[in-house]
Every structure is written in C-alpha cells, then in structure tokens.
Amino acid sequence: MRIEGKGLIARDHRVSFTFDGVRYSGFQGDTLASALLANGVRLVARSFKYHRPRGILTAGSEEPNALVTIGTGGRQDPNVRATVQELYDGLEARSQNRWPSLNHDLLSVNDLAAPFFGAGFYYKTFMWPRAFWEKLYEPMIRKAAGLGALSGEDNADRYERAFAFCDLLVIGAGPAGLMAALVAGRAGADVILADEDARIGGRLLAETYEIDGKPGHVWAEEVLAELRAMDNVRLMTRTTVAGAYDHGTFAALERVSHHRADRGAGAPLECFWRIVARRSVLAAGALERPVAFRDNDRPGIMTAGAVRAYLNRWGVAPGKAVTVFGNNDDAHRTARDLMAAGVHVAGLIDSRHDAPEVQGVHMIRGGQVCGSTGRRSLEAITVRRAGGEERIQTDCLAMSGGWNPSVHLTCHMNGRPAWRRDIASFVPVAGAIPGLRAAGACNGAFSTAGCLREGAAAAVEALEDLGLKASEPTLPAADDTPYALEPLWAVPGKGRAWLDFQNDVTVKDVKQAAVENFRSVEHMKRYTTQGMATDQGKNSNVAALAVLADATGRGIPETGTTTFRPPYSPIAIAALGAGAEGKGFQPQRFTTSHAATVARGAPLIEAGLWYRPSYFPKPGETDWRQSCDREVGYVRNAVGVADVSTLGKIDIQGADAAKLLDFVYTNMFSTLKVGRVRYGLMLREDGHVMDDGTTARLGEDHYVMTTTTAAAGEVMKHLEFATQGLHPEWDVSLCSVTEHWAQFAVAGPKAREVLNGLLDTPLDPQDWPFMSCGAVSVLGVAGRLFRISFSGEEGYEIAVPARYGASLFDILVKRAEGLGGGPYGMEALNVLRIEKGFITHSEIHGRTTAYDIGMGGMVSARKDCIGKTMSQRPGLEEPGRECLVGLKPVGPDGRLLAGAHLYRKEAEAKRTNDQGYVTSVCHSPTLGHMIGLAFLADGPERHGEIVKMVDGLRGVTTLCEVVNPVFFDADGGRMRG
C-alpha cells in the first residue's frame, strides 16, 4: 500500500512488471521487494528445507527469504534477492522452490514432518546402505531442498573483470562513508566511494534523520553533488565490496545492467573489480537482527528498520495495522514514523520494563511476542506480559533485536571481532585488515552524529598515512542520542522459533547441537547448517551463538563467532570467470602461413597455444590417411614444405655463451665450429630428459638454440634460471627470437632444387654439408639457412624475418608443387620422424632418461651439466629399465596403438607382467604397414623377439616384433645426401 507524498521514488515514472505471471506496477526507484509490498504481495517464497511460506524480511542485501528468479532461457538468473533487484519496465520475476505453485506447494508436507527433520537428521538417517548416499539420498534431498536453478542453456550475458587503484577506498556511502569521502576528496586524495545500493545515502534514505536541519537524504544529495564535481573522486554505485585481501586488495562486484530491461546494449551484466587501495575506510553500516519467537517467520513479520525503509524511502506501508516489537529505543522510531505517516500502529511491545514511553500508541513494556498466527500471512500475534497473554490483530510486525555492525570484511584476513557488552554486539578489532579503518555503525557508533564524526576522523587518519594534508572538517549538526538496548535473543516457549530463515534453523536445533556435544560454534554451525546459506548467517549469526552460549553455560565472547569469509554477498561464477570463455579462454598463436593453411582447407591442431595444420586435403581425398600418405610421399620422393616457425628459437650471445650451452646440454657445444649445427639433449635438474633440439653456432660468441614447440617457454625459463641464478657471473645474454623469424622446412630429394632460384647464391653441396648453417640472401632479403632434417631426407630450414613469412611460404609451396611436391602437415611430419626413430615429447614425456631413449652416450663424461649427477642415481641406469625400441606387427595388417602395453608373447596381460608401453604409432606408407616406438624392459637386447601388445581400453591385441627404432635408411645416407 502506497502512502501519498512519502518516499524517494519517481512517482511520475510508472513501470510494469510481473511476479509469477501476474502483472503489477511500481515506480522507478522501487526495488522488486518494495513494489511487491506496495501491491500487497506478501507471500514471495518457500523456505529451503520445510517449504514454509515466507515473505520479505529485510530491505537490503542480507535478505534471506525473498529470493526470486529473473528472466528466462540463457539469461535466467536464480536466487536474486528481491530487496536488491531494482524495478524496471518489463521485469519478469518468478518465485522458487515450490511446486506446482507458491500458494500450493506440495513439498510443504515437509513442514508437517518437521519433528523428524531436526538438526543432524540427514547425518543420522541416510547412512545405510552406504552406496545409497551418492546415488539416491543426496540427489533426492538436493531436489527437495533447493534454491533457484539455471536454465541449462549457455549464458547469453556478458560479464567483465577490471582493475582499479586509489589512495583511499571508502566502503559504504551512508553518513560515515560520505563524510570520509568528502574529507579525503577535499584533501585531494584519489578516492573510490563504493556502495552496494543504486543510490548514495545508506541509512539516510531510510530514516527521517536530519543533518544540519535538512532531511538526511537531502544532505546526502548535496554531498554527492560536491563529490561528483571532484575529478579525484570516483563513485561506484551498485558495487558491493565483497572481500578484503593482502596488500590493500579488495574484490568488488558491480551490478552494471541488472536494473535495465535492455541489459545495457553491449554493457556487461556485472563487472568483477579488483581494487587496490593504499588505505581504506569501512563504513558498511549495521544489520538489524530479528528476535527468535514461535513462528516468527510468517510473511508480514519484518525487521523494524526494514519497515522504516519501505515507509520512508519507498512510500510503502507494509501493513494496515502494524505492530512493533523490540528491545531497544531504535525500534520506537518505527512506531513514530508510521504514526506520523498516518499508518495505524496496533501496538508497541518493548521487552524492557523501563523502556521510555511513546505517546499515542498502545505500548506494552516488559512484554514479549511469543507467537504468531495466520495462514500464508500474518494475522495476529500473541504477547506475553506480566499479567498474562494478549492477542493483537496485526498484518505486519516490525521486530528488532538490536543491530549488528557489519564487521565481515574486517574478518577476511582471519581477524576476530570483539564483543561490546554495552551495545550487545561484535565490533571490529583495529588493524585486522592492514590499512583499513572501520567507522560509523560498522564500528558500533549508531548515532548519526557518531557516524559523521567517525567517518571524518577515519579519513583524517588515512590522509595522514598517505602524506596528505588533512583539515579537520566542521561536522554538520545531527542527532547524537545514545543507543539503548537490553539483549533479547529468543523468547522462551514451545514451537519453532526461527534463527536462520534461509536454512530453516531454529532455536531448538541449536540447543540440540549443544546437547549432542557440538558445543563449539564452528561445530554447531556445521551440524545445524546455521549460517551456511548464501546470506552467510548475516541475519542469524549473533543470535544463534547467543543461544548456544546460553545452552552451554558460557558467555558470548567465550563462545565467539564463526569465520566470515569472502564474498560478503553472493557473486556469480560467471563474473569471476568473466571473459575467459570462447576466444577469451586462452590466446591463439598463428604462424605467418596461417591464412594460406586455412585457405587450403587444412584442419588445425593445437600445439601449446599454436595452431598448426594436420594435413592439406586434396579434392577426392576422403580420409586423412590419404592426404597424410601423399604428403609423406612428397618428402620421400620429391619435396615437401612445412612451417616450423613454432619451434622455440633462443638467441644466445656473449663471451660465455659456449659455457652456458655446455652447462645446459648433456653434450659439448663449445667444440662446435662456427657455421655448424649440433643436436643437443637437455636434462632437468632431476636427471630426466627435459627437451631436445638443434643449436647452431652463428658466430664465435653467438648461438641460436631451437626447442620443441611445447617446451619453448619452459626451456627459456630454464636458461634464465641457469644464467641469473646459477651462473650470474657469466657474460651471456638470452633473447627469444621465435617470433622474429618465420622458418620453413624444405625436405626431400628435390629440396635443393626448390631453394636454388630463391637464394641469391645457389647452394653448393660442398659448402652446405649436413648440419651446416649460415646467412643467405632470399630474394634480396637477409635470411638464415640450416641444413638439418627431421624427416631423414636431405632437408633445409630456411628462415626470413616474419613479415616475409606468408610470402615465402606461398613461393616455396608453388615451387615444390612444380616439382611434384607440396606442403605437408603435422601428420606427415609425425610419420616421417617415426620412420626415422626420432623422438618427440611422446617419448621424452618427463619420466625417461637419456639412457632410456638410447642416448646415454650423449651425456658427456668430459664435463658437468645440469641433471648429470642426478641422472646417475641408482635405478636410473641399471639393466631392466624400459628402453626405446621399434615395433612392427607380425602380420602386415596388425594394428598398433599408442598407449597400449607390452607383455611377453605367452604372458597374461596383467599389471605384474607389464613389460613396457607404446608411445608413438603410425601407418608407414614407405614400408606399407604400421610401425611404432615403444619402451620395453631391456628393449635394445630384445630386437627380433615377438612381444604382445594389448590395448585394454580399445580391446586390441597384436603380436609385434621388436626392432631397431630406425625403420628407414638406418645409415642416414639420404639425409647426408
């Protein structure tokens, strides 16, 4: 019910929305909750466990009951708090956790069975049979006890992540936060003022306080106007600071487009901020706590401060005959504000016998509300007083058990709040978050004047830390009435008195936990689930531990609180992972020949972040094998061209460059002649093979090392560690040149023919023997040529600056095609190297040694190298180790499979008989059957033996002959040319 003339809503801007399909209207400036209340909708949800009817309890982000689902399909957003959701035209909201409807929810039978469902029910009941938990009980319970759900469709909304930096972060824009921001802004500090609300002002918007003789919200508007005019102040509304971390870092969630029907036309739905602040002021305010009494969860029962907020900010009277129940003076304001607005107040019940008198209302001092009635909404309450019980007809009860300072952020780095007896609340401990000062209600200062004072003081102190001149401001005049209360946590009596509304935990549950010896507050929490819902116990925490303290005969400070952890309020995973889907998942690295590769229809495979061609299909080819075999044929019979730019290339220069190479490679590089290339093997510190590749000596003090594609970064890191950490005295410089050079392998009997004509000086075989290198001029461009081979044919790698890569690839391919060859992809490259027994990371997979791959002899005895000592550990060189062999099937059609295991021919295929495993296989078009590389116990001594390959996963068994891993051209005559 709206009250004319009240509220800060835009009365001239009416908006239409639906709830469970029913159309209602509200005003701009409404939340979904205020609009529902204005339309008399009181039942908005079913509770989590018992499916009890629930209404709106609060007016803020702490709301435990009024969770709704907004939108449909890919944009369906469950568990939105109606108290936070701003109203917009066309908003569609639905209730949750009910079937078939909110009014007739079949699972409300749970509530009738409640005596069986108390704390620990699941733990005690669903224990047997053991296997049933995962398959039956848990899914069943999860289905019955639930929150809203996602649609299962891809999320159509956009999210973003961002970073912000400032001198001073002010968290909360109520009187304390505004004052702090004002003082710091005037002093010239770079300030961020963040508030979870859409509108600046905090509690000033909900109350009738005056500041400097003006309504509080008017004062807030004036401060806001001044802050807006400062370019050193950044206002972040709809932004919840959700976590405090090391080094002044805060996590914050900005709700960018939740309030817009069009969701912002390209703007994200939410932005996850990381804010780094040199200093911070926490002005997060306080949250009102309910009082536990029988059936205190009926729709229509709200916190007293929320009733004031709906009345003063949104012009809504949540009832026609309102009753107020509290243990403090603050609750009296609710009665006074309602009466001033012309709303009937049916009674003011104060649990204190000495409560101050409030005129014009039926006041019951020393009374306690001990029960409520009404079917799906409050109809009457029962008040217990010295003279007996009294029943009062009321459709809204405003209750207040006092206020809890919002200390949460101060606990995120393991700080524990301290108990203040005078206000019966926990307050932050100074220094709990380095650089953060708490001010105002979150620090236990509950008067407006107190908030203004503390806000200003906190800013002045922070400014001093920052080395900025701070002037003591003149504080505006405001109410400074002390806050008076007498603790009241739970009204004694039968029935269920609710503490945690969101997880359906009662006073009885907490007492039961204590009885069953879950006396620690952390144990009680987990046993009863109190505080484990998405509101993290904001509404119930202190009351629950007070009940526990009472049940265990301890005081509240001794009982202590559970741990508050980030986030302060729920954050969608989509916001945390913003931008990391689709192309944002990881960078894509493309070679200079990428466009040409794609144009030729080559399927791409990922190698690290790189995209490389699998094969280049030709018209008429229906199977990748046809393309692959053809490309192998190019290299064996004519010439093939492949882009090998993805291999890591590291430029190594300096007087000690040779020393570094001798140190990181197992073999000698200091003896390599200028203009020559050598194959090298690199070990990890633990003695296993790390990577391999060729290194060319371009000058006396100048080498260029190649690494495998996948290990390029790892090798660079390894070299940096060796030079910076192990031998900082060496004169050697490293620089990755992977990206500067586009490099292509040209291999095959006609390779030289392809190159001649491109090179300004034709190749003379005398000058370019196998494993030579040098500078060349490629169509007038300075390039490099390396005569190396990964295919076993006469092969060259030609490099030009990357800007010419695309052009050179086109020319090379065209020339190769003219000679009966063409481009080849990774599949053919793999076949060519397996035929030659060359290893890749399939073989040097991290668990093999130089000895295992048949390169034990490459570990030079004449020098030390990284990993050498550890490679000589017992067990790493002894007989019986699984070593590299070649495999070929006994029958020509036999299948080999990588990943399969090897057994003796007659042995059973079981773990204890395992003799080794297969690492690489291919069909060799050159040999006409499959071939494979494998590791086999004592393999090199077993050439000629027949072993059994078994692939248990794919159900394939093949008898294989163990052979030399070099299947083709064993003496290397072809590549030496």
Binding site: R158, E160, R161, A162, F163, A164, F165, D190, V256, G264, A265, G266, A267, P268, R274, V276, G579, K583, G584, Q586, P587, Q588, R589, F590, T591, T592, L609, W610, D651, Q653, G654, A655, Q724, W730, D731, S733, C735, S736, V737, T738, E739, H740, W741, A742, G757, L758, V778, L779, G780, V781, V800, P801, A802, R803, Y804, G805, A806, S807, L808, I811
Partner: protein, 181 residues
Amino acid sequence: MGNLVAKSPCKGLLPLSVGAMSASEVETGAMTMLSPRKGQDGALDEAMRAVHGLGYPAPSGVESAGEARAIWFGHSSVLLVGAEPGQRLEEHGVLVDQSDAWAVVRLDGPGAEDVLARLVPVDVRLCAFPVGSTARSKIGHMSGSVTRVGEASFWLMVFRSMAETLVHDLKSAMEAVAARG
C-alpha cells in the same frame, strides 16, 4: 619468381574505432633488443646517448629522442624502437633484431585508461603511470608490454603471433567501455 612481400602483424585487423577510442597498428621501424655486456651498463648508456641521444632507461622507464624510443623491457633488456642501432652499441651490448617479433598497437582516446583497466593488472592512472612509463605485464592472458606515449595514448605490444587475440581482447574491452557511456 617474384619478390618477398612484407606483411605487418595486424594487417587486416586494424584500425579499429569504438566510440571515441581507436586502436591502430604502429609501424615502428627497426626494433632491437639491447642487453649490456657484463659490466658494460654505463658504457652502453654512454654509447646510446652518443649515437641516439637517449640513455639506457631506468626500470619501468622510457627514454626518447625524436622518433627513437628506448623502452625498458625487463631484466637486462631494453627495446630500442624506431632507430637502427649504431655500430658503437655492439661493443658494449648484445643486439638482437626484434623488428618482426612484436605486434605494436596504439590505443588512443579518452577511455583508454578504462580499456586497460579491463586488460592490464597494473595501475595505469596518469598519476602513477605518467607519459614515459612502461610495464611488462599481462595484457589479457598474454605477456606483453604497455607504454604510455600520451595522456590518453598507449602502446601495447604482444608477440606477433598473438596479434589477433590482442585485437579481439582490445575490441571487447573497448566495446564494454563504450557501452558504459
């Protein structure tokens, strides 16, 4: 036979305008990584001043003279951009040609800082990162280099192979900033 045709890293990807912001490829000319030889830091600095009129920059700093810039690039690394390195430099430093290794994109416009706030985890406010500041940092998921070349202008550098991802990430961030209005 034809000639080798040069292609820049961002060809076909840039320029790009979103709202009042723009991203364009920078044709930098030569780029050379300079690393001082052992104990030659001072001598390299002097040689750079003599030959190019700019010194060896302090960490996170940039030295410039005319079109030439020396951008701090990490431990013992400075990228000399926009000038062919003089012979004298080789006596005191190791020179590696990087002219084709990096995609260099210039981001201009009033929202440039906001765009970077979505991609780069370092403080790029003008007060903390004035003109002539540089950082080796992440740009999205990529390792890169960010340099402020004007009040509302930055150079972003990533490996050439990642130019497409840089433009993708940059465009998304620019659109998000522009949509905020």
